[in-house]
Every structure is written in structure tokens, then in C-alpha cells.
Symmetry: C2
Subunit: 420 residues, 2 copies
């Protein structure tokens, strides 16, 4: 039922006019990237695959659809044992994409492929928006780890998916326990200002925290006065204190002052973690500051200004009868500003990172194919572990030309175009 | 487990130092509104209340928390039968808020109130962001209905919550079937371009749709050529055609042309529905166009540029022992740029719409109190139906000064401040 009503009304029409099983090809792609972006990082496939495998309608749902007139009785009969029986091909999760990249292709009976639209787009648009922003923050941070801590700024279920997307794009850990548990992602977090404020003094709060969590913990030093907070922290925990966190003020200035003071107090190994409205731009600006780790919240879970990836899912070819051997007719909307290329695309990447596609299923000998089989005849055939996806994403982004990885606003470094 | 690790580490410290049951007060509020906004519309409470009532940790989750070191064994013992036993007070869902409005107050044992932070903020920040944007679109549309159709642009579960938030802010219907079913919201939707493209001709597609759905349906006329599409639509369905939908081009020009042509063809009762990247600004610009309904997708589910409401949840008062009669000590962070007002606030609205609060529990005689009891001693005491909330929101927004309802960018029309 994670779908839009128009898909069911179309499905009903297809059932009634006999075309519901005609062979078809749909593609998901982005017409453009968010303004300023040079590339996007595809994410969501690992969440999408099981959702497609489980996609269907129970008796209660079919009753509802009939009652509100979204489906005909004949369509209801078919929906009762709906199961996606077709093929799904996609760019691997963690691959980069550009305008026109056919990141996901569904092929099979028209009615089945059609009904996946909302599910495919919801998952890919959300997770890709987060991963694309996260990848830029990771580039900005260099070898300094980033904690995803945006759960409080987004829907409680989006938060869990965002944790996964940020991690696969290179974040090191998350504050989100449900996400950490579900996806086996390292979790971190110590205290909020409420903890300090609830105690009679900052010193009492630090003492309580060190007693419960040990001197390796991270003490939050900016509740009252940062300098005094650092002095108290080192007095309470000793020079072996794990880390301090600063969550306000000019982080460049405050981190330099904090480093100097920590060093003066002998806490030369104590790390400095900063949080507070960080994003790829702020992290870049903090490049020279003595900061050992960043915590990013709002801006990563909301895609750093672009909370949806803008992908669409379009019919690109259809046959007049069922079966994979039926001759496909390329189709495309012609309307103003929203034209798209018809035909099933086979995509590849050249050595310089640029992308192209053919309509005849071939890949040039000097290029690597970008699509992998994900579902074949309804069976899942691709399900890499999250750490494998994370490694893949790192390798793909690192292989990009330096100009493509630049965090400054720019234009897409390439566009997926048809081979001449 | 919909929570952040730092809440559990704080909880553990409170268990270890004996303060976990000390009486406390936390408030959720927004320090500021998104740039340009004159007010915000609170949403999410109806989703939040049952989530708080069910909030807890099962054996598997407690095992995980122990394993990753997020809690101490003593904290684990207490978490096993965690249940929020305190009080929750809030602005009713559908009420407007401004910077500083104490929209939700949790009062009870420190450890219990603390653990609700992430859940409270995830739900309120998401749903309020959507409702606040939706309310502006409803104002812009006047008496013309708006369909929420953004499911494909946001996380699949956010989509369901967004449907609810947009509806309570005044949208008339949704494309999202799961949301329609769950919340009893009218659903609409007919076909996408894929439907037209999958047929041999636009005429065949329209004929199939009318056969399945009747002449009262909405035909999508912009796949190839809008003028020809409208002519074909009326030829196929007759002048009793319910509606046409235009999803591309200059909607002001196209809707005027379409109205003239429909009237010329005798289809004077056929409605014109437009979609395509609409938001409150575009809808305002289309104020004089002969449009009968709008469909809004991306921009409503992503909060029209502001996907999170920016609310925070802060400890504002704490006692040194358990019990509602324990003397509370107001607390507030002092750090730069993030200061907040300590003490439990009682909020009210004056006749001119402006807001104030006191710290002594009183409300001036000429003002109406804004907070209602929601949970008392762990029991839900407030749970209005969605249509009641929708009516409340409409009344509250309509009672605002015209300058506050203006869709043009502005500044908050008032700020919640302490009574002099």
C-alpha cells in the first residue's frame, strides 16, 4: 500500500483493457542534480530490494481500495496475489550518478512495474539525497571522522534510513541507536546540556559522567564558559580525558583556544569534537582548525538544502504483448521542459569518470558497465553488506577527477548521454 | 529505541548518581522560525502521543545497549520496565506557534523525560515543517482545493506522516493510499504519463481510462500536445468530462487556453487541475488563472525549503528530589547564541494574536491559555480526531491578523515573551 492512488487506477485500466501483462521497461533517473552539485551518490537500493520483494496487498487493503473506488473488482482479484515477478537492474548502491543516469531499470509485466513507482522513488529520493550530501561532507572532513546525529531533525523512520545512507557515504558513526542496531553501525554519544544543567555544578556533572563512563568519555564543555569548562574537565578526568565537545560559538576560534589550553594542561591526547549546524561548507572552512571530529545533524539528514534527489520513474519502452521476447517500442513524453529519452539504456563509465549509454545493450570495450542485476524473475540476486557498499562508494568517489569532488558549488561534471 | 545514544548514557549516569527520579521539566520550542516565515503551524502531536505511550525497550534492545556499552547494568534493570509515568502538556495540534512558544512540556522523573527527546523532536520537527508549509499553500489557494501528492519525493514513512500533516493544515486530499487508509483522508489520482505512453495513441489511452473509471475522471492532456489532448479528451469523454490535468508548461497561459478551448467545446463544467513543482509562491502567482485545483508534491513534503522545524527539547527546571512538590530550580544554557529561558512556562494568546508566557502558572484575564493536558500520570487524556484538528487549525489561522497570514516572505508576526 506504499503507493499512490493513480498507480492503482492505471493498473485497473490495464487489467480492464487487457494490457496489464504486456512487457515493459521503466527507468528511474534524475533530470538534473540539485543546484551546485557536481555528482550524486546513489543510495537506498539495499532498503528497496526487500521492500519490493515484500510488496503486495492484504485482504484489508484490497477491501479499502475497492471501497474507495481505486480499483475494479477484476483488478482486485489480481492484486490479491500480486508479487513482482520481473527483473530489476541498477547502479550498485554507492555508485555516483549524474543527470540522465539510468540508475534503476524495472522490466517485466506493465502492471507490476507500474505499481513500484512510489516505493522506488520514495526510497531512492530520500536515501540518495542524504548520501549525496554526506559524501560532500566526508570529502570536506578529509581523514577526520564525522558522526551522524540528525535523528531529532527528521521523521523517526527517515532518521534510521538517513543513518544508513550517511554511513555508506563515509560517515564513521551515528547517534541513532535504532539505526545502529538495525544496520550494525557504530553508535556514539555521551551527554546533552540537560545533563550538565541537571547537576548542581558543571564539576558534579563531569564527575558523575566520568564515574559512569570512565575518563575516555567526551565531556561537553560549553554549557557555561568554555575555558572554565575545559579546566574543570581536566581537573575531574585528568590529562587522560578522551575528548571534549564544543557545541556553540565560533568553532575555529574556540577549537584553537581549546587545543592550546588542553596542551597547557597536559591533556595533549584529548581530542576536540565540534557540533552545531555543520555542513560541508562549514567543515571546509574549519579545515585548518585543530579539530579531531565533527558531529553533523540537521544538514545531513535534510540533504544539505536538497532533501530529495528529484528522481523520476518513467516508462521508456513497452511491447504489445507479454514476454521478454516481445518487440519493445521506445516511448517518451514530449511535453515542454520534461522530455526524456525513450528506450532501454545500457550505461557505462569511461576512464575519465564520464558516463554514457547505448540503446542496443552494448558497452564500449574501454568502459566499465554500470548496471548490475538486482532481481531476476522476482528473485533477489544482489544484496551486498553495508560495509562492502561503503567501501565501493569510497573507491568510486576517490576515483573521480578532483574537479568533480570539489565541495564548492559547481555544475555536474558530466552528463549521461547516448553514444554517438 | 527511537532515541539517541547520548540519552541512554545520560540515563545511566543519572541511575548511577541517584538523580534519575528527580522531578524535572523539559520544554520543546523553536528558537526561530525558518527565514521568511511569519508563523508556524504545530503538527505531529496525534502521532506522538501513542508513540510515547508505547515507548520502551525490549529484551533484545537492552541486550544490544549493554553490548555496545550505552548503558550500565543498573540502568538496564530499570529500562526493562520503562514507561513514561509523567505529565505532558502541549499546544493543541493545529495551533500556531512563534519563536519561543513552549509548544510541549514534559514533566516528571528526570530519566523518563530525558529519554523522550529524540522521539518528541523527530515527530514534531517533521510534521510541523510540513504543516507550516501546507498552511501557507492553503492560504495561497483560497477556496480552491489542494491535493497532497509528494509521496514519491520523501521517505516512504515520512510520506504517510506528511499526508496527515498537510491534511490537517487544510489540504483536501492525498494521492497516498497508505496515508488515506490509516488516517481516513480522501484519496485521489487517475493516471501518469506512463499510462498514456503505454497505449498506441492518446485516444486509446483516454478511451481505456473512461471505460474503467467513467467520464467523471481526470484526463491527463499534456503528454504530446495540450490543445490536441484537450480536443481528444472531450471527443472521447464528451462535454461531461470531469477534469483535465496539465503537468507542464506555463500553467497560467496553458490554463487560460485550456479554459477557453473547453468552453468552446461545450465542456464548461470540466475542471482544470494543475501540477508541476507548485508551492505557495507559484500558487499565489496563479491566483487569477482559471484553475480549479492544485496538486502539490515535492514542496509540501519537504516543507517548502525548510524540511525541519528546528525545534529543540531542553531541560528548563529540575528539583533535587523526586515528586511534583519538590522545589524546582530553573536552569538554562548560557553559551553564545543558544541561550534559552529557564523555568516552566505557561503560555497564552491575546486577542491580537500575540503570545506571552508567565513563569508562575497564571494567565492574564484577557488572554486564552494555549496549553492543554495531553498525558497525565502516563495516561492519555487528549486525543482529538483528525478532522477536529483540521477545523481547529483553520479557525486559528483565519483568526490571525492579515499581515501574519501573508504568504510573501516576512518576519515572525510576534514572539512569545515573558510577561513584564
Amino acid at each position: 500500500m506504499l503507493t499512490d492512488r493513480y498507480e492503482l487506477t492505471m493498473y485497473s485500466s490495464f487489467v480492464e483493457d487487457g494490457s496489464v501483462d504486456d512487457h515493459s521497461v521503466f527507468e528511474a533517473f534524475a533530470r538534473r542534480l540539485p543546484p551546485g552539485r557536481r555528482y550524486g551518490l546513489l543510495a537506498g537500493l539495499g532498503r528497496l530490494i526487500p521492500l519490493i520483494a515484500d510488496f503486495g496487498f492484504d485482504e484489508d487493503e484490497i477491501g479499502y481500495l475497492l471501497q474507495v473506488g481505486a480499483i475494479t473488482p477484476k483488478a482486485a482479484d489480481r492484486l490479491a496475489d500480486f508479487r513482482f515477478s520481473g527483473d530489476l537492474t541498477a547502479y550498485p548502491e554507492g555508485e555516483i550518478y549524474v543527470p540522465g543516469s539510468p540508475v534503476l531499470t524495472a522490466e517485466g509485466p506493465l502492471g507490476e512495474c507500474l505499481l513500484l513507482e512510489t516505493l522506488v522513488l520514495s526510497v531512492l529520493n530520500h536515501d540518495t539525497a542524504v548520501a549525496s550530501a554526506a559524501a560532500r561532507m566526508v570529502t570536506a572532513a578529509g581523514d577526520r571522522p564525522i558522526i551522524e546525529m540528525g535523528s531529532r531533525r527528521t521523521h523517526e523512520m527517515s532518521a534510521i534510513a538517513a543513518t544508513r545512507a550517511a554511513y555508506l557515504a563515509g560517515f564513521g558513526s551515528t547517534s541513532n541507536l535504532a539505526g545502529g542496531h538495525l544496520y550494525d553501525i557504530p553508535t556514539v554519544g555521551t551527554v546533552a546540556h540537560a545533563f550538565i544543567l541537571s547537576h548542581e555544578s558543571e564539576r558534579a556533572a563531569f564527575a558523575s559522567q566520568v564515574a559512569a563512563l570512565g575518563v575516555g568519555t567526551t565531556l561537553l564543555v560549553d554549557t557555561y564558559d568554555i575555558e572554565q569548562g575545559i579546566r574543570t574537565a581536566v581537573e575531574v578526568a585528568g590529562s587522560g580525558l578522551g575528548a571534549i565537545r564544543i557545541d556553540s560559538g565560533d568553532l575555529d576560534i574556540e577549537s584553537r583556544r581549546a587545543r592550546a589550553l588542553l596542551d597547557e594542561l597536559g591533556a595533549t591526547g584529548t581530542r576536540i569534537v565540534v557540533t552545531s549546524d555543520l555542513d560541508e561548507y562549514v567543515i571546509t572552512a574549519l579545515g585548518a582548525a585543530p579539530i579531531d571530529g565533527f558531529g553533523v545533524g540537521t544538514r545531513v539528514v535534510t540533504g544539505s538544502g536538497h532533501p530529495t534527489a528529484g528522481m523520476v520513474y518513467k516508462l521508456v519502452a513497452v511491447a504489445d504483448r507479454p514476454g521478454a521476447d516481445a518487440p519493445l517500442r521506445p516511448v517518451a513524453k514530449k511535453a515542454s521542459g520534461k522530455g526524456s529519452a525513450g528506450g532501454r539504456k545500457t550505461a557505462y563509465r569511461r576512464g575519465d569518470g564520464s558516463e554514457g549509454f547505448t540503446l542496443d545493450g552494448t558497452v564500449p570495450p574501454d568502459a566499465r558497465p554500470l548496471q548490475v542485476p538486482v532481481i531476476r524473475g522476482g528473485e533477489i540476486v544482489h544484496n551486498p553488506a553495508l560495509d562492502e557498499i561503503r567501501g565501493y562508494a569510497r573507491a568510486v568517489v576517490e576515483a573521480l577527477p578532483a574537479s568533480a569532488r570539489d565541495v564548492a558549488d559547481g555544475t555536474p561534471f558530466t552528463t549521461a548521454t547516448e553514444e554517438d
